[in-house]
């Protein structure tokens, strides 16, 4: 569904993405993992067309996204840091988004109900706490029935109950054969939510396969253990080849 082909992104002298090639397929769920500054958000923003790659190509349904914009109709996106017009009320924000995407007749207000956001419809965005803001972001990402969901650290800053609500929603959508791309630093969450893992480090993809495969390779049962073992093995191999 989404193919990333040899994508490179440079910010001045800093290389954020280095020849990244990935395939994201419908019906699969991907965990995008890597330390801070490894290029996860840059990759996601490139897929959304918010960041323009220095070279390489991204295809959505076999079509290049370079000059296209209609494909974003099929994506629900939850940003890492939700930035919204500050003097807008929550209700106005939802109305605006529905209005902008008028083509969709049916909206999905599960999360608005579950987070009880309708009670706060007349609160302005600038007065919101970080957690409420995150709830608004999540509700906006799931506001339409779309085939692709891209979630950048969805659970960061949410209280435990809200995290469970959001996870339930994500798993629900996953069973509807949607494509999910989730980044997070909380590996236990990803273990529940996703089946595939992409591990990025310094702008390069170091692992791209199923989580089952990773666990089998490292002989671990938990993703967090499996990933640390994988990274240790990699470092070991790297230090041997340096000699």
């Amino acid at each position: 569904m989404i193919s990333v082909k040899q994508v490179e992104k440079k910010f001045g002298r800093l290389t954020a993405l280095e020849k990244v090639s990935l395939e994201f397929q419908t019906g699969k769920s991907y965990a995008l993992v890597g330390p801070n500054g490894s290029g996860k958000t840059t990759l996601i923003k490139s897929i959304l067309g918010l960041v323009v790659p220095t070279s390489g190509e991204i295809l959505f349904d076999e079509k290049s996204i370079r000059h296209d914009w209609m494909y974003r109709d099929k994506i629900g996106y939850m940003p890492q840091i939700g930035r919204y017009p500050e003097n807008m009320r929550i209700g106005q924000l939802f109305d605006m988004m529905k209005n902008i995407r008028q083509e969709h007749q049916k909206v999905d207000e599960d999360l608005i109900d579950a987070f009880k956001l309708y009670k706060m419809y007349d609160k302005r965005m600038h007065g919101l706490s970080g957690g409420t803001r995150q709830k608004v972001s999540a509700a906006l990402a799931f506001l339409f029935h779309v085939p692709v969901y891209i979630l950048d650290e969805p659970t960061a800053g949410l209280d435990p109950i809200s995290v469970e609500i959001l996870k339930e929603k994500i798993i629900h959508e996953k069973h509807l054969n949607k494509l999910l791309i989730v980044t997070s630093h909380i590996l236990s969450d990803l273990d529940e939510l996703t089946n595939n893992m992409v591990y990025m480090f310094e702008g390069k993809v170091h692992y791209d396969n199923t989580i089952e495969q990773l666990k089998a390779e490292t002989k671990e049962t938990r993703l967090s253990k499996a990933l640390t073992t994988f990274i240790r093995q990699k470092e070991l191999v790297a230090s041997v080849s340096d000699l």
């Binding site: 910010f11 923003k45 959304l48 067309g49 918010l50 960041v51 323009v52 914009w69 209609m70 494909y71 974003r72 109709d73 994506i75 996106y77 940003p79 930035r83 919204y84 017009p85 500050e86 003097n87 605006m96 988004m97 209005n99 902008i100 995407r101 008028q102």
Partner: protein, 255 residues
């Protein structure tokens, strides 16, 4: 486009700045009419407001507005909305509200005290100058990510076109006064939208001799109506060129 534009206009109206601007222009125009009964002189005094205040307000307000709606722009670009729709929507929103504020603030007192052709020309130059400086403001906004820097660049544009350029022109004319400079000066004036607006006004008021050497030559070179047409055309280029360039930069910008 209209859906996006609706929200941009709504946002501008809520800041109430456009209303304040209208009120300011209304009061100054009204006061000038009260002070002087000769409408020609009033237009001439208003010309100074148009040439200094309108560019300054347009360029500073537009730059600040652009950075204040950065969140909105970011939000829209993650939706199925074209980049140029968002960008040109912002331009049209800001430009139309400032033009409407100017037209209402200056136009209503003029209508009350009797409209004349030179008043209409003043309205026209004010609106075109607004468009030019909003265009320049958008260019300075996409040149940098930093709000303070962008406002700095915007103010520099204003200083340059309102004050520095005239000084440079004077200096060139003075130091090369031994040579025939008429055509060169006319060409040089085309590089400054504020001068162009001034010339349109002066040709219309038929007092170009007051502007001295260049004005007299300008009138001689073009004749009134052709001079106005030519200046308007060049001003139009001044609207389109900066916003076109800004749009190109914005299309490749990372958010």
């Amino acid at each position: 486009m209209t859906r996006v534009l609706k929200y941009i206009l709504y946002d501008i109206l809520r800041t109430r700045f456009a209303l304040l601007y209208t009120a300011f222009l209304f009061v100054s125009t009204f006061a000038l009419y009260q002070l002087d009964s000769d409408s020609g002189k009033v237009v001439l005094s208003l010309l100074n407001i148009v040439l200094m205040v309108v560019p300054l307000v347009s360029i500073v307000f537009s730059t600040i507005h652009f950075f204040n709606s950065y969140e909105f722009i970011e939000l829209m670009l993650a939706q199925p909305v074209k980049r140029s729709t968002v960008f040109l929507g912002e331009y049209m929103g800001v430009a139309s509200s400032l033009c409407a504020a100017f037209a209402a603030g200056v136009g209503i007192p003029m209508l009350l005290f009797g409209m004349n052709p030179s008043g209409l020309t003043l309205l026209f130059t004010g609106i075109v100058l607004t468009l030019v400086f909003v265009s320049l403001a958008f260019l300075s906004s996409v040149l940098t990510r930093d709000k303070a820097k962008a406002i700095g660049i915007a103010l520099l544009f204003w200083f340059y076109f309102s004050l520095i350029y005239d000084g440079l022109l004077l200096w060139v004319v003075y130091s090369f006064s031994d040579y025939p400079l008429e055509k060169v000066t006319v060409a040089l004036i085309a590089f400054n939208p504020v001068d162009l607006a001034r010339i349109i006004m002066l040709l219309k008021l038929d007092i170009s001799a007051l502007m001295g050497y260049t004005g007299a030559f300008y009138q001689d070179f073009f004749g009134s109506s052709f001079g106005i047409l030519f200046s308007s055309l060049v001003l139009f280029i001044w609207v389109v060129l900066p916003i076109g360039l800004a749009q190109r930069i914005f299309n490749r910008k990372d958010l």
